[in-house]
Amino acid sequence: MEHTSFGDQRNATFSFAEEDHTLANALRFSLNQDPQVIFCGYSIPHPTKAQVNVRVQTTDKEARVILKDACQGLMQMCQHIRGTFDKVVNDFRTKNPSGNHPSQDMDSD
């Protein structure tokens, strides 16, 4: 990952290789949720190159720190989603027991 910032550390562009809308759009959401972010957006400079630039401008903290927080926030969110999902699946399975386990039963018919 590349990080460009001229003088003022509050404004920076981060360039991620081998990433696309999947991460950038989710990160933009996470960054926008932070009241310390003045502006954030992302662009994909060329559609055939696996690269995405994320622009972050903040009120007073370093953009790098804010981006890190945003990532942490997103990760926390994912962990909560995963935990909730696993619990719901288990509950569903105990309520609707179906004998065969899909992972064991390799036949389609």
């Binding site: 890190k68 926030g73 990760m75 926390q76 969110m77 989603i81 699946v89």
Partner: protein, 373 residues
């Protein structure tokens, strides 16, 4: 100065001081489906979007945990439907994109054709073989890099040898004819001089047989059974070896673990006024998705009710007949409620696919964090 500081801190922390007025709350949380086009489709992500109204728009983690909900409507061996409530579209879409393009599976990548006299050309045959889903957990395997030699940890070998022996018959070759070779390739490399070394070399170098591994003992690797590969006429023969490796859907769709995966937002149908009598019958008739029902009131009148809003496809048939109908019914979609459907191809059950997709997004975040530290 010091007196005003706690207040400023509280504001920065994002304490919601006021609620949004109902018309703005509606636009914030619903897509409005008008007769010509859906309106108000964007999500307002910026935390300060309603700052002038004293409303904090950011989502705090505690609130997220409180409001987030998953409901499962159906799980089978190869597909599931779930409701994910309380997430932003960007997160839901990230999961969908990861499921389609970034979750690894095993798929046939190299086909060594010894003999093919069928009408299906070698390259077409190889392509068809590539698309056959292999029922094996990809987490048990490694990626095969360019300089790696194929071994038992990164390659699965299948053999296909069929010949139509009966005169005047057509033999249909189905995917269950693909035999797993747990000991690796059986084809010998011909380029080396056979006399020089003791052991003849094959196209793979397995150190042990795959069926001796605990994961596969008594659980042979199979492919999806009844896919037609080719049809053979009398005397025609196919003899080949297919090597499957690990990959992801963005390289080629054959590695995608899902047949497809999609979401739709929860439809919401509101009757803005009482619809009674003949009009109620007309409304019930109009809807092809059978969203409306008629309820009999005590005094013998009939009234339309919204019985199955979830079935609404937003075809807008009910609001098409003039402005009157547009005023009577409001079609909306809930912006943070996703009805997610996952159709697995059989490598992993759908609920495992979803958890793995969430893990991949976590990994991506973790990579960025470690890059920044």
């Amino acid at each position: 100065m010091s007196d005003s500081e706690p207040e400023a801190m509280a504001e920065a922390d994002g304490v919601p001081s006021t609620k949004l007025p109902p018309h703005l709350e509606l636009r914030r949380t619903r897509v409005l489906c008008k007769v010509d086009a859906p309106d108000n489709t964007d999500t307002i992500q910026y935390s300060g979007a309603y700052a002038s109204l004293g409303h904090e728009n950011s989502l705090r983690f505690a609130d997220f945990c409180k409001d987030f909900r998953v409901d499962i409507t159906r799980i089978s061996d190869d597909d599931m439907e779930l409701d994910m409530v309380g997430v932003d579209p960007s997160i839901a879409n990230a999961f969908r994109r990861i499921l389609l393009a970034e979750l690894p599976t095993m798929a046939i990548e190299k086909v060594l054709i010894a003999n093919n006299t069928s009408v299906v050309q070698d390259e077409v045959l190889a392509h068809r073989l590539g698309l056959i889903p292999i029922k094996v957990d990809p987490r048990l395997f490694d990626y095969l890099s360019e300089n790696d030699t194929p071994n038992e940890k990164n390659t699965i070998v299948f053999k296909l040898h069929v010949r139509c022996e009966e005169r005047g018959q057509r033999l249909t070759v189905k995917s269950n004819e693909l035999m797993w070779l747990p000991k690796g390739s059986e084809f010998l490399k011909t380029s080396e001089s056979l006399t020089s070394t003791s052991k003849p070399e094959t196209y793979t170098s397995f150190t042990c047989s795959q069926d001796s591994m605990p994961e596969f003992a008594g659980n042979p690797i199979r492919v999806y059974p009844d896919i037609i590969i080719s049809k053979l006429g009398f005397g025609q023969e196919i003899e080949l070896e297919a090597h499957a490796v690990k990959g992801v859907g963005k390289t080629h769709a054959k590695w995608s673990p899902v047949a497809t995966c999609w979401y739709r937002m929860l439809p919401e149908v509101e009757l803005m006024e009482e619809i009674e009598g003949e009009k109620a019958d007309v409304l019930k008739q109009k809807c092809p998705a059978k969203v409306f029902e008629i309820e009999d009131l005590a005094d013998g009148r009939k009234r339309a009710t919204v019985a199955r809003p979830r079935a609404c496809t937003l075809c807008r048939e009910c609001i098409r007949d003039g402005e009157d109908w547009e005023k009577r019914i409001s079609l909306r979609r809930v912006k943070n409620h996703f009805i997610f459907t996952i159709e697995s191809t059989g490598a992993l059950p759908p609920e495992v696919l979803f958890t793995e997709a969430v893990k991949i997004l976590e990994d991506k975040c973790e990579r960025v964090i470690s890059d920044l530290s």
